[in-house]
């Protein structure tokens, strides 16, 4: 018993707090009256804040920097703590965003937040597992929670579209298990270190490479990379706004967290993965930007935007050096703020006037200048233009790729050219807001929390660009100790 408490205090504290709050939330959903639905949000916020605070109390071992818990099932180091902070921070914002959703589904508010907290828990576990079985459980749990959250949407075809997500998610999970069975058959073990030891001793890796490619499909699916990118637009269209924001944030963070750890262990034995990843990233940036520029519905645009942004991060990850990894971490930090800011802005607009096309934003600058300026700042940060964090993060990530050798330069320039197409997809939205049209849209100024998040994200996007140096050093620190 003492040992378990010790393990929890050393490596599992935030997860434990979230588990306690999941149980309490389940109990509350049984006993609490529907009129108390507002409590659920504050309850969840309390849980997330406590978990966020507890990450700072996790011990960091000065010598080898890694602490194992539960017989080596869970690992905790600076890198995983960094990712846990990212996940908890974005889930804090997402909880604030889902206010209007639970107002309309007030009888199921506690259930909603139970599932949401489960998703947060699974994503935190995904980052810190040490074997493939644990990885499968946590990432499959994350997918299941995403499916349940998608079902909370109000849109008429939500059930159908979320089922589409579920089927494709199940297919990729099947591929993962199929690859895992090959891996187990070849190596006889499923822990990361065991497989790595086997690879170090044996040369025949053709079948293993095949197994790995099958297994990595589940991450490519979560990130919306090209062969698995067909779900994004439809799923986002069916999802309600906070859920779409969730889909484009938390699974992406969790997937990159574990993907970097996997690649660190295996990439030296499987160099073909580098070429595979960078090719897929390049193709994704190209095709998704081309799709994005033709969209008229803002949700679909943002779906392809998520696909492109995660492909840019995959581009940085695939060359795999300390610099590129810290570039990915910094890019992800900037992406989270810009992305949540954009979703907050769209949510605010939708809640005010129930419109969701790009053309509906026409002439908004003349009614709500502050809103438009903040929205423009976060969009520019996503597009990666000059005065915001987006530019610095792109600069850092691309320079890390440019540094990795002549082989990657052609991929880099094609990806950069394709990223310009995506800039124009964002540009269409900005342009429509500045268009001189008489429109009667208005923004309801009484919706506080999305407005707060929008302004906070816009401010953070600018500040991250200005004080980038310290944050980059932090990211290098986290990447160095992986």
């Amino acid at each position: 018993m003492n040992e378990i408490i010790n393990d929890i205090l050393n490596a599992y504290l935030p997860e434990s707090i979230i588990i306690v709050f999941i149980i309490l939330s389940l109990i509350a959903s049984l006993f609490f009256n529907t009129s108390l639905y507002k409590l659920s949000k504050w309850f969840t916020l309390l849980g997330i804040t406590l978990a966020l605070g507890s990450t700072f109390f996790l011990p960091i071992d000065q010598n080898d920097m890694e602490i194992f818990a539960f017989n080596g099932e869970i690992v905790s180091n600076i890198y995983t703590i960094f990712f846990k902070i990212l996940i908890l921070m974005s889930s804090f914002f997402l909880t604030l965003l889902s206010k209007n959703l639970i107002r309309e589904k007030r009888d199921r508010a506690f259930e909603f937040f139970t599932v949401f907290l489960c998703a947060v828990l699974f994503s935190m576990c995904t980052v810190s597992v040490t074997d493939f079985a644990g990885l499968f459980f946590s990432i499959e749990g994350l997918g299941l929670c995403s499916y349940l959250l998608l079902n909370f949407s109000k849109t008429p075809n939500a059930k159908q579209l979320s089922f589409g997500y579920f089927v494709q998610e199940g297919t990729s999970a099947f591929l993962f298990l199929f690859g895992l069975s090959y891996l187990y058959g070849l190596c006889g073990q499923i822990s990361f270190n065991g497989v790595s030891d086997y690879l170090a001793q044996n040369n025949s890796v053709v079948l293993l490479t095949f197994a790995f490619i099958l297994m990595l499909c589940i991450f490519l699916f979560k990130l919306g990379i090209v062969p698995f990118s067909s779900w994004v637009a439809d799923t986002f269209e069916g999802a309600s706004y906070p859920i779409a924001a969730y889909i484009s944030t938390i699974p992406v963070i969790a997937s990159f967290g574990i993907l970097a750890r996997l690649l660190l262990i295996f990439i030296n034995y499987l160099p073909v993965l580098k070429i595979l990843f960078i090719t897929l990233a390049m193709l994704t940036i190209f095709f998704s930007s081309l799709c994005a520029i033709r969209q008229t519905a803002i949700k679909r645009l943002m779906a392809y935007s998520m696909s492109v942004q995660s492909a840019i991060m995959l581009l940085g990850l695939s060359v795999f050096s300390v610099f590129s990894l810290s570039g990915v971490l910094f890019y992800m930090l900037c992406y989270i703020f810009a992305n949540i800011g954009v979703w907050a802005a769209i949510l605010l607009f939708y809640d005010s006037c129930k419109k969701e096309n790009i053309d509906d934003f026409n002439g908004l600058i003349f009614h709500r200048p502050y809103y438009v300026i903040a929205f423009t700042i976060v969009l520019i940060a996503l597009a990666g233009l000059a005065p915001t964090s987006g530019f610095v993060s792109k600069l850092y990530l691309f320079s890390a790729v440019a540094r990795s050798g002549f082989l990657f330069l052609p991929f880099l320039i094609i990806s950069m050219l394709a990223a310009v197409i995506m800039i124009f997809a964002y540009w269409k939205l900005i342009r429509s807001m500045f268009r001189r049209v008489d429109s009667n849209v208005s923004i309801d100024t009484h919706i506080v929390s999305p407005k707060f998040i929008l302004y906070a994200c816009a401010l953070t996007s600018v500040l991250l660009g200005i004080f980038a140096d310290k944050i980059i050093q932090l990211c290098q620190f986290a990447a160095y100790y992986l």
Partner: protein, 507 residues
């Protein structure tokens, strides 16, 4: 001079733009305009002080200053810092930019009828971006301002242009962003392969170099060409030029002046800063090619200019055509040619700003810019005709007007240059001489058609220039005449820079 701070010079217009944009600022057009004019005048005087206290003998950059936020410099761990400094060429361009912004503000009253707050703030933002490009000492800071200049320009073209302006602005932004990708890519490669050679992680333009002994020539040529694509789209040279006549045709008149006067020179400036300074060996290798490109530029764009029927397009093609002289001058690789090229860049900015100022007066009164609808305006607008005579002669290169000296210098530079292909260079010089006749063709055709031929019935009641326009025109014409009579006053300011560059080129 301690009170002269480049940070203030660059960021003051941004502060003014933000001040105008806040809703508390009065939305009355007269107040906005007066504020903008007063601010631009003070800013121009402040920029002039830099010129007054400039040490012409100094070898290298002066007025160096770093922008820090609470004593933390920007991206220090990556060797990138927000440092700004001036040398002779950039100083002249900075003063010219402030002057042209002031001039456009005086003329804006007639042409800008809606959304005054947005207009003046966008012009200030644009001015800031241009000054940032000219003063940046760091490669990536240069790029930040390089991209920042496009966003206000997009709004300036699309919001106040004619009905087709939005499409043209989109085309322009698309072309520019695509070119920027090549530029950014080249910068990234240069940044890291310089690090690999010298082991110092830096993006400072003056300390970058591609060491020829460590990298193969094809690799240097690859990076050089990427930079070249980035810059020639902005200058614009022939084959990358199609956005320019398009937006000049559709944008409103003050925006035309801004683009012709300030925007294009930044391209030439980048060419000198990067392609000449960082890749001296490859530049020597490419010099004959660039010279031929310059000649093609003069002839091709000149031919296109003659067949146009719209005055703004004629001027746009004329400017592209004359930019060919700049390229020839740079490719001569000697003192006379280089000095001539830089002077030509400044002269073209002044001359074509004046030409667009005259076109703006004509367009304001007649509401058309087609040659077929105009004619004989000299009878009703004599003052305008006299000013435009000076400007047109200035553009052709009549002695004692501004473009005469640089053209002479460039051609003598081409004849004197000791490139390997000597015969070819002489032929180029002769073709260049012929091209001066070409230039007088299209410019005088424009002048004749607008001011001299038969006066149409509907233009008989036109009024001559207003005092505001006369003040603007006389200021511009004064510049044209003064620097035509006394060209050394400009050249001595950047003489030390050209010495430095030619030392780097080792010719």
């Amino acid at each position: 001079m301690n009170f002269l701070s480049l940070i203030t010079l660059i960021f003051a217009p941004i502060a003014a733009a933000i001040l105008i944009l806040i809703p508390k600022f009065p939305n009355h057009q007269v107040k906005v305009r007066r504020f903008a004019k007063v601010f631009a005048s003070i800013h121009f005087i402040y920029a002039m002080l830099f010129l007054v206290f400039f040490d012409t003998g100094l070898y290298g950059m002066s007025y160096e200053k770093e922008l820090t936020f609470f004593n933390i410099s920007w991206l220090k761990s990556m060797g990138i810092s927000a440092k700004f400094a001036l040398d002779g060429i950039s100083l002249l361009l900075v003063v010219l930019t402030c002057f042209i912004v002031l001039v456009t503000f005086v003329l804006s009253k007639m042409h800008i009828r809606t959304k005054h707050k947005l207009y003046y703030s966008m012009v200030f933002l644009f001015e800031s971006a241009i000054l940032g490009i000219l003063c940046a000492k760091d490669m990536f800071m240069f790029f930040v301002f390089w991209e920042l200049s496009l966003i206000p320009l997009y709004f300036l073209i699309s919001q106040w242009g004619n009905s087709e302006a939005r499409r043209a602005a989109m085309k322009f932004t698309l072309a520019s962003f695509t070119a920027n990708v090549f530029l950014f890519f080249a910068m990234l490669i240069l940044y890291y392969y310089n690090f690999a050679v010298s082991n110092v992680l830096t993006a400072n333009i003056d300390s970058l170099s591609m060491d020829e002994s460590l990298y193969p020539v094809w690799f240097q040529v690859f990076v050089f060409v990427n930079f070249l694509i980035g810059f020639v789209v902005r200058i614009p040279f022939v084959f990358f030029h199609s956005w320019y006549p398009d937006i000049q045709n559709k944008a409103s008149a003050p925006v035309n002046m801004l683009i012709a006067g300030t925007f294009l020179s930044t391209g030439v400036y980048g060419l000198i800063r990067f392609n000449m300074q960082i890749f001296p060996e490859v530049f020597k290798l490419f010099a004959p090619v660039l010279m031929c490109w310059g000649v093609v530029n003069i002839i091709y764009a000149g031919a296109l200019s003659i067949i146009q029927q719209e005055i703004k397009k004629i001027s746009a093609y004329a400017q592209i055509s004359m930019m060919g002289f700049v390229m020839i001058g740079l490719a001569c690789l000697n003192q006379v040619g280089f000095n001539g090229a830089v002077f030509m860049m400044l002269a073209l900015a002044v001359v074509f700003t004046s030409l667009y100022a005259i076109i703006s007066s004509v367009q304001f009164r007649t509401k058309t810019t087609y040659l077929t609808a105009l004619g004989g305006l000299g009878q009703v607008m004599p003052k305008c005709m006299y000013f435009s005579l000076i400007v047109c002669f200035g553009a052709i290169g009549v002695p004692f007007l501004i473009t005469f000296a640089p053209k002479l210098m460039i051609l003598s530079g081409a004849i004197l240059s000791n490139l390997e292909e000597e015969l070819m260079v002489k032929i180029v010089a002769i073709i260049g001489l012929l091209a001066i006749i070409f230039a007088s063709g299209y410019i005088m055709y424009l002048f004749y058609k607008v001011f001299c031929s038969v006066l149409l019935e509907q233009w008989k009641r036109l009024k001559d220039l207003s005092p505001q326009e006369i003040s603007v025109m006389s200021a511009l014409c004064l510049v044209i005449i003064y620097f035509g009579v006394y060209p050394m006053s400009v050249i001595q300011i950047y003489q030390s820079v050209s010495n430095l560059l030619l030392d780097i080129l080792q010719v």
